[in-house]
């Protein structure tokens, strides 16, 4: 299990104290990742051998691109979630879960750091 699965796997762990810690995490973009918009597509490209596989790129949907845009080394994950909820007029557990899952994937691929 990874940190997302351990700490934020509703409904069992929703109230877990780690969740509060996680939502307070400040996320930073890895210096070894470049964000690119190609036509209507959004991608993350690893720019060093240490990051993922140079032959793999990461395709984001529009919400993923919006989350990436908000990661600035200052905002907490909770603040990012709140902004996404406002912009997309969505809220609730599902949205939070989606954001956590996306952030988890990016951390596993070393595209962002906490």
């Amino acid at each position: 299990m990874n940190w997302y699965e351990i700490c934020y796997h509703p409904p069992i762990y929703t109230g877990h104290p780690f969740v509060k810690i996680l939502t307070n995490l400040i996320l930073r973009k890895s210096e070894n990742t470049a964000f690119r918009k190609i036509g209507d597509e959004y991608i993350l490209v690893p720019v060093a051998a240490a990051v993922a596989d140079v032959e793999s790129i990461f395709n984001l949907n529009e919400t993923g691109a919006a989350i990436w845009d908000k990661i600035d080394g200052k905002k907490s994950l909770k603040e990012i979630i709140n902004e996404i909820e406002e912009e997309y007029e969505a809220e609730g557990q599902q949205l939070e879960n989606d954001v956590f899952e996306f952030v988890n994937e990016m951390m596993e691929a070393k595209l962002i750091e906490a």
């Binding site: 470049a34 964000f35 690119r36 918009k37 190609i38 036509g39 597509e41 991608i43 993350l44 490209v45 720019v47 060093a48 051998a49 240490a50 993922a52 140079v54 032959e55 793999s56 790129i57 990461f58 395709n59 984001l60 993923g64 996306f102 994937e105 990016m106 691929a109």
Partner: protein, 369 residues
């Protein structure tokens, strides 16, 4: 978030309706080269003063990289001359990598040092393609004209292969090395375990000199290569099976160009001249005087939209996918980008005959008889 290979990602841009995005770029960083290959279309001596004075500076390269990234370029190929003839090449490369470009390097391998290989291992290119011209030293150096180039090329290959840098080898097939192609292919594929490809389609030099053509194989030998290589044979058979008899490309638009140049591709020469592709000897947009976006949106769009100005046998030829000819080839070989080139025409007809593809009448054509 979906992890995806570049091949799968780029396919999104190939399926209709094709959007005009400059996703594939080629940049010649220099035409200077330590080799003097018999067939080369653009090489200059390493110390060529005009080239040294006029090549884009590091800052100009960075600006161009900023602009092509902003416009949507993703796959960039650096070529030469010899890319490592520029002392600041790795700095240019690094800047491009940090912009999120997937970079392929074309090199002859002779200037790759341990330090360069170590660096590429930490900042990996998408691919490195090294051209090797013979199985033996004698043949390789007969083509390159430079003693010692064979050993240095093999050392470059060894340095990159040891570091598991994505590497492919290739060659141009000439009258000078045709006798060693199969040994070379076997050596690369079976002994080195690397991908190998060859190309017999030699073109004139960009300055219109026809000298390289002295070393071009005759059309029937190009066909022999097709038939002796199972991969090429199966590819041509696949073309034959899918053959519809229709003229390919945007003939309904009556455009001179029918490849992806100017649709998803562009080329930039060492002096900042942008064109539809690197083989276009004329028709350049000066990136020293204007932004890439202006050149792409206006100049290259017009160049790409050129209409056919005369009726030749190529216009209604349904087998032109078999010939490999393109407007720059025609311009370099005949001085006219719409003029048929006999060599390509004969190769196409031989291929059609060999693989059972019917050739419809398409005007006065001696090879149809």
């Amino acid at each position: 978030m979906e992890s995806i290979s570049f091949t799968v990602f780029s396919a999104k841009f190939d399926s209709p309706p094709v959007k005009r995005i400059p996703i594939h770029g080629m940049i010649e960083v220099t035409r200077r080269c330590p080799l003097n290959c018999a067939h080369c279309y653009n090489n200059l001596p390493l110390d060529n003063q005009d080239a040294l004075l006029n090549e884009l500076t590091f800052d100009e390269h960075c600006r161009i990289l900023d602009e092509i990234s902003e416009a949507g370029c993703l796959l960039l190929t650096y070529t030469g001359g010899e890319i490592f003839a520029r002392k600041d090449f790795l700095e240019i490369y690094t800047y491009g990598r940090r912009k999120g470009l997937l970079i392929t390097l074309f090199t002859n391998g002779t200037m790759i040092t341990r330090e360069i290989a170590d660096y590429l291992a930490t900042s990996r290119p998408f691919c490195v393609e090294i051209t090797v011209y013979g199985y033996t030293r004698e043949t390789h150096e007969r083509v390159t004209g430079v003693p010692g180039s064979y050993e240095r090329c093999l050392e470059g290959i060894r340095l990159l292969a040891e570091r598991k840098i994505p590497l492919k080898l290739k060659t141009m097939v000439l009258t000078l090395n045709e006798h060693e192609i199969w040994q070379l292919k076997s050596f690369v594929e079976d002994r080195l375990g690397l991908e190998f490809r060859f190309d017999p389609m030699i073109t004139p030099r960009l300055d219109y000199s026809q000298e390289p053509l002295i070393f071009r194989l005759p059309p029937y030998k190009v066909l022999e290569l097709d038939l002796k290589d199972p991969k090429r044979t199966s590819e041509w058979r696949r073309v034959a099976e899918k053959f519809t008899g229709c003229v390919s490309g945007p003939t309904s638009n009556k455009e001179v160009y029918y490849c992806k140049a100017g649709i998803t591709g562009f080329g930039i020469d060492p002096y900042g001249g942008m064109s539809l592709c690197l083989f276009s000897p004329s028709g350049k947009y000066d990136l020293r005087k204007g932004r890439f976006s202006m050149g792409w949106e206006d100049f290259l769009l017009k160049a790409r939209s050129q209409k056919i100005s005369k009726q030749t046998k190529c216009v209604h030829c349904a087998i032109r996918d078999l010939c490999g000819m393109c407007p720059p080839n025609s311009e370099m070989e005949t001085g006219d980008q719409e003029e048929p080139v006999d060599f390509f025409c004969e190769v196409a007809h031989l291929r059609a005959h060999t693989f059972g593809i019917p050739v419809k009448p398409h005007g006065e054509c001696r090879y149809c008889r």
